[in-house]
Amino acid sequence: MRGDRAFLMILPASLMIGVIAIFPIVHAFRISLDRRMPVFGISYFVGVDNYRFLLQDSRFWQSFLNTAYFSLLSVSLELITGLILAILLHRSFRGRGLFRALVLIPWAVPTVVSARMWEWILNSEFGVLNYLLQQIGLLSAPLNWLGDRTLAMFALILADVWKTSPFAAIILLAGLQMIPEELYEAARVDGAGEWQIFRRITAPLLLPFMVIALLFRTLDAFRIFDLAYVLTGGGPASTTESLSLYAYTLLFQTLQFGYGSTVAVATFLAVLLLSAVYIVVFRRQRHG
């Protein structure tokens, strides 16, 4: 099959990817070497000065640590929740389709909307969570979920786990469906218990799918913006400010296009590094 027309068929997609995705990334690198504040008519080349400043910028490091902490915790929790969901939804039972649809709902809801929903549930005065916890006697006084340094991060993680566990569940469900039923039957005939079957058959065969879910979810968590922007606004006192949120504040609130791009590029590099690490580890695991 020769592809004389192939060029025309891939042209629109290549053009869009080139002009709207690759060029802006390259351009972001370029801008990150400038001191640029368009509203004040300031724009000149400063070389790596922004990067030198970045290394000493405690707010950058704070947001980096916030993002890493958030990603680590929320991704681990949602892989566990996702795994439980996948195992339950893999069994055949009446109403399975209905339940599969129900747990997909958080995935389909816009992040901004889910942030507003959780903001209302976690409201310190009128929030239903405080009310219920007080009713069952777990709390004696309402907690200020979104106004407390430690609790605000947990609130963010809770809302993210709610929103994204279905995605992990779907990937893992696909993995479960690929394990041949005969393997389980053979193991049962040999007298293996449920836990043994999980450890010896399900877990190892599911591992590649765990890695894929982990890769996609970590990259996504590392880019967190919408949720933090609406739910906590990065507060209190920048304790939930993510890399993307800090870059956004620099770019569009203090209008520092140069340094803002530096932080954005650093975010990009962090994500790139993460995916490279995953791919190397995954390859080794596959072949070794």
């Binding site: 997609a13 995705a21 997909l104």
Partner: protein, 278 residues
């Protein structure tokens, strides 16, 4: 006897965990629904948990006192245009990669995969400058073009995996009958891949409906806002008007819930193909 008790207990645990997780998934939405039906005087008090008398004031308010109809229209237009353009461009590319031999086809797949990993924040400022140059601020094009680009990886990967499954013989036979590759694509592959195209359409539509950062940055007037931007910038001078907010989130979420219930199977298979089959 013991085994039967064991099985019943296992069944009870299974249903208890499943119901618990389903309630966890649904609860925030249900709470918004209840709040949206409460009169303003009951929104800020607990108890009662349930509205003593359901009212639709908040729903009326968001459509009468705020341009919520306009926001929904904006989102529908942007998401539909994105879906159409993304699938036209994406299916052509996916067909070429799956069935035509040419240099660099794997490069295009790889490029698509890598751009799906870009953090939007890294592209938003250069895109903002580019969009200003084109005069696309506050236009549908200013959102549809970037959305199309960043939904392309999803569309290309799903459709590529669908086209790959269609036998090469069909393609060769049609060529022998005198079709051009483009005619083969339109007349044979598009109809055969219709379910896969539908799946990709739902996923692209939901992506465009939910996108926030570009919509926030590339629009400046209120009448051009999409729903996520409207919800994020929901005005309230001192406090958020929670009754109206609840009504707004219910209005936005309900069509998505319907989509999920109608196309659950397609969504699951699409997400699986898009992320696992690589």
């Amino acid at each position: 006897m013991d085994r039967r008790v064991g099985r019943v207990a296992q069944g009870a645990i299974f249903w208890a965990i499943l119901t618990g997780l389903a309630v966890f998934c649904l609860a925030p939405f249900l709470w918004q629904l209840l709040t949206s039906l409460k009169p303003t005087s009951e929104v800020g008090t607990l108890p009662p948990l349930l509205p003593t008398r359901p009212v639709f004031d908040h729903y009326l308010a968001i459509f009468q006192h705020r341009p919520f109809g306009r926001f929904i229209l904006n989102s529908v237009i942007v998401a539909s245009l994105t879906t159409v353009s993304c699938l036209s461009i994406g299916s052509l590319a996916a067909f070429a990669i799956a069935k035509l031999q040419f240099r660099g086809r794997h490069l295009l797949l790889f490029a698509a995969l890598s751009i799906s990993m870009f953090p939007s924040i890294a592209t938003v400022s250069p895109l903002y400058l580019l969009i200003r140059v084109f005069g696309w601020r506050d236009t549908y094009a200013g959102l549809v073009v970037p959305y199309t680009t960043f939904a392309l990886p999803l569309a290309i990967w799903i459709l590529w995996s669908v086209f790959r499954e269609i036998p090469d013989d069909l393609y060769l036979a049609a060529l022998v009958d005198g079709c051009t590759p483009f005619q083969v694509f339109v007349r044979i592959f598009v109809p055969l891949a219709a379910p896969g195209i539908g799946t990709a359409a739902i996923l692209v539509f939901i992506f465009a409906w939910n996108e926030f950062l570009y919509a926030l940055t590339f629009t400046s007037t209120e009448t051009m806002r999409t729903i996520p931007v409207a919800i994020a910038l929901f005005p309230g001078l001192h406090e958020v008007p929670w009754g109206e907010m609840a009504a707004a989130t219910v209005v936005v979420t309900t069509p998505l819930i319907l989509l999920v219930f109608l196309f659950q199977r397609h969504i699951v298979s699409g997400l699986t193909a898009g992320s696992v089959k690589g």
